[in-house]
Symmetry: D2
Subunit: 284 residues, 4 copies
């Protein structure tokens, strides 16, 4: 089905849903999925609206302008419209750890992800074979301490050339620089191998073992300038016991990491996530 | 906040959301929660719409008529409007087992349930004290094999006199007769102590132990004429092992039963459930 | 069944299990549950051993001495033997919040807890009625800022007079002083309403909402001198979303808190927990 | 570490653990993991015992004979000893569906499975490439309705030639015949894509959608002569809603299937499972 998806947020007032769904209906669009939320603390209105374009009287090119006119009626409205085709294009950044990449590639091949696996970018060459097996181009861009900035410019150029829409850090063992983060705000998803905000930073499974927790987790979040502090999209957990040594936690954690990351990527690709301050509204 | 909640379903077509939200906005209502679903297999439209009545130009008495006019524009629309006050009135039916009743009473006292605990009806007297401690009237109506029909007429009269809106079977060890079920269709919630459709009927934990399952569960469903076959509202599970004998399953199951039942009651009271054939749409 | 339970830990070496089970068998005891763990990082041996005393040639009074002789053969062995009767005696400390206390009382009444509810101690009088309904004595000991030390002496005297074995802090809103903690080391269980180590200290649900987490939790731990830093016994979690305001987190959290606390109390009462440094070995 | 693992069961009586651990200690073995269970309903004793062979005075060849002498002292003792090396050899049977196979191959490559991926056997050729990418030989043995018996003889010969220890049916779309099942009793693990005993047989996700369940699951079990009735090793579940159409259930189910199957395979390979009638004792 050929659909359009509107994500929007604004200061709440009477009549927003009516205005927006009227706009859709007026041009022959049929709503097939609508989810709405009003945050009572901040008086913010959030909505995700999907409609069938089959009988749309408005071309895809004209939709944004028409929507812009409606949006002006509301205070501080942020909105974006996206279409079911072409699929958003994904670049996955990796180092040496394969499980998250393998999982994303497999899901993509099985048609689970609403996107195009356009590129795998590695600062090591270890996972080139894996990408190749799944038919996805692998680009090796080494990142050395002194040349990090240059490497990131190279990465950003590559993303631009390939019309990438979403960057996924799949256990990519580099901190992304501020310029990169700023350009790609809200479009870089990272998987952190702990249940944030517990165990920020390095070796979270070692930290978890030392603290003696009985549950471990993983967190997928948008990358912001501050390490492991970005808006959380989704989290997952699994039980552990005194029998689990650090290696067991790592093994058990892998299962959670790949599930949580894949879920976050899916939610983003299906346009189900709105960032609001340092939190997310997830219409799932 | 003084709100109205509309639940509706109809054959899908273009413009339903626009028409309904326009209707709300037209009379000064502000949408604060909207969730919509279209079942693509059956082409059925479902919606839950909550709006703030603060500035409503329409009195509560006039709302249904106005809505009726809108509803006629759509094919086969079923709808109901309810208001945040007065709270729906609940009657809990029990036998001798206390955990589900105790849980509901406690949640009610803590303000978790969007309803009024009006009545506890027991076919045994065992739980009278518990009801009394929480200040809820207990009515003892014994149900004997020969006098079951008469007892049910007594129960139904009692429900009617007390303006009950919802009947909750909290481990009530009697099968409710067809007349009762018919009168109260969609308004009796039962908790079955298994993960339906597994282990229908008596002694599900014994059945579970015999089959050697590694997970047990509980199911809250609307009561229909066929035993344990009604539309499922919510289910819960917990892990078990070879160490768990039937008594352990019963103990572990109690935790799931009370949680699942309370969740189903909450969802129903907040008007989040639409029955559709033998399934439910749950806007949670 | 009349049983003895041995909990022990020592530096690992060959022959410990053989020696201890031989000791049990020698005097006619039949092992009915044995769980053993060797921590490979610290080379520590841990074991829980339960045996049937039916045909025991050794009286309960003589058992500890006989065991002491065996224990001396091993390096640094810590051990304790307890018997299935009399049941350990529990004192629950509360303030105004009722859900954890109500849950423990209910479980006790249903026979889920392997202990005697001896006492409820409140620094407020709010929950006296609840304790009374379940037939458990309630003692009101107000705790004021200036008189805290004196109040704690009073509490400790009360525990001593009542032969209490375990203190449960069921949402008790006071920090227990160092003297109390020291005397009762390993015998005070607290429920903290967050998934530790995240959100230590006050208002964890507010903290969770601010950080925008997608899962919240609760943690039962032994109380030590440092706030919320004691050895964790058990943890539980539940999913949350952008729709959940602080009050919803509090409500959802209550379900986890009471389950996690009850589970920890059960594990302790069944002698399934060995504290090892700041972690626990839990033979569940 | 070079270890031996004993799995045994027998009629319970006094002194079994002492005798067996004495046997281990006598020859210089150091117990590193022991888990024991007595089923009070059937009076059956079960134990898993792992010991370090470093200082063993007994050669691996002599161990079974020595153990046999000990075992004779107990009534009806079934036992097996296995060693940490060589690793058990696995054959995975597949049809066209890749997710379970891909998951097992990936886990094997990451060192999560305590076994050797010796062989992939397909009744279709679709997954040959995948096996090849991970360096595992793929054998294509078509199974036609008329030639099924012959194909199974071929399969069994292949397993024998390759010294296979465990057969894993990874969404293998054929019912294994009685001769095969008998020869491989307790050594064929199947993944069924439902929460057994619910939805036995074909199209369980369609059945689940029709019944309107709110949780779906997957079940790993040993294969027996009766379809989907064998002893359950492990089960997993995930929540679903009215939004999930059959395709969504299939997608969500895939995540559970691969996790549950991998977990069952791990448990079996680590010799943690004892079959007891139609149930399992799982020392996890």
């Amino acid at each position: 089905m050929n659909t359009a998806t509107l994500l929007c947020s604004c200061t709440d007032r009477t009549g927003i849903v009516a205005a927006l769904t009227h706009f859709v209906a007026e041009y022959g669009g049929n709503v097939i999925d609508l989810d709405q939320h009003t945050d009572s603390e901040t008086n913010q209105f959030f909505m995700r609206l999907v409609w069938d374009l089959r009988n749309s009287a408005l071309s895809r090119d004209d939709l944004p302008d028409a929507m812009g006119i409606v949006a002006k009626k509301f205070h501080n409205m942020h909105w974006s419209i996206s279409f079911s085709t072409p699929l958003p294009r994904i670049a996955v950044f990796v180092s040496k750890t394969q499980h998250c990449l393998a999982d994303l590639l497999l899901r993509h091949q099985m048609g689970e992800l609403n996107g195009e696996m356009a590129l795998v970018v590695g600062n090591h060459e270890d996972l080139a074979d894996l990408a190749e097996h799944f038919g996805v181009p692998f680009v090796y861009i080494p990142v050395h301490r002194e040349g990090k900035e240059k490497a990131e410019l190279e990465q950003r150029a590559l993303l631009s050339e390939n019309n990438i829409d979403l960057v996924v850090l799949a256990r990519y063992m580099q901190i992304v620089g501020p310029g990169f983060v700023e350009e790609w705000a809200g479009r870089i998803i990272n998987i952190h191998h702990s249940f944030l905000p517990a165990f920020v930073g390095a070796k979270p499974y070692r930290q978890a073992r030392t603290r003696g927790v009985k549950i471990i987790g993983a967190t997928a979040h948008y990358v912001t300038a501050e390490l492991d502090q970005g808006p959380i999209i989704t989290q997952g957990v699994t039980g552990v016991s005194h029998r689990d040594e650090v290696d067991d936690l790592i093994r058990k954690g892998r299962d959670i990491e790949r599930q949580v990351l894949a879920q976050a990527v899916r939610l983003h690709l299906e346009r189900r996530v709105i960032v609001s301050g340092n939190r997310t509204v997830v219409f799932s």
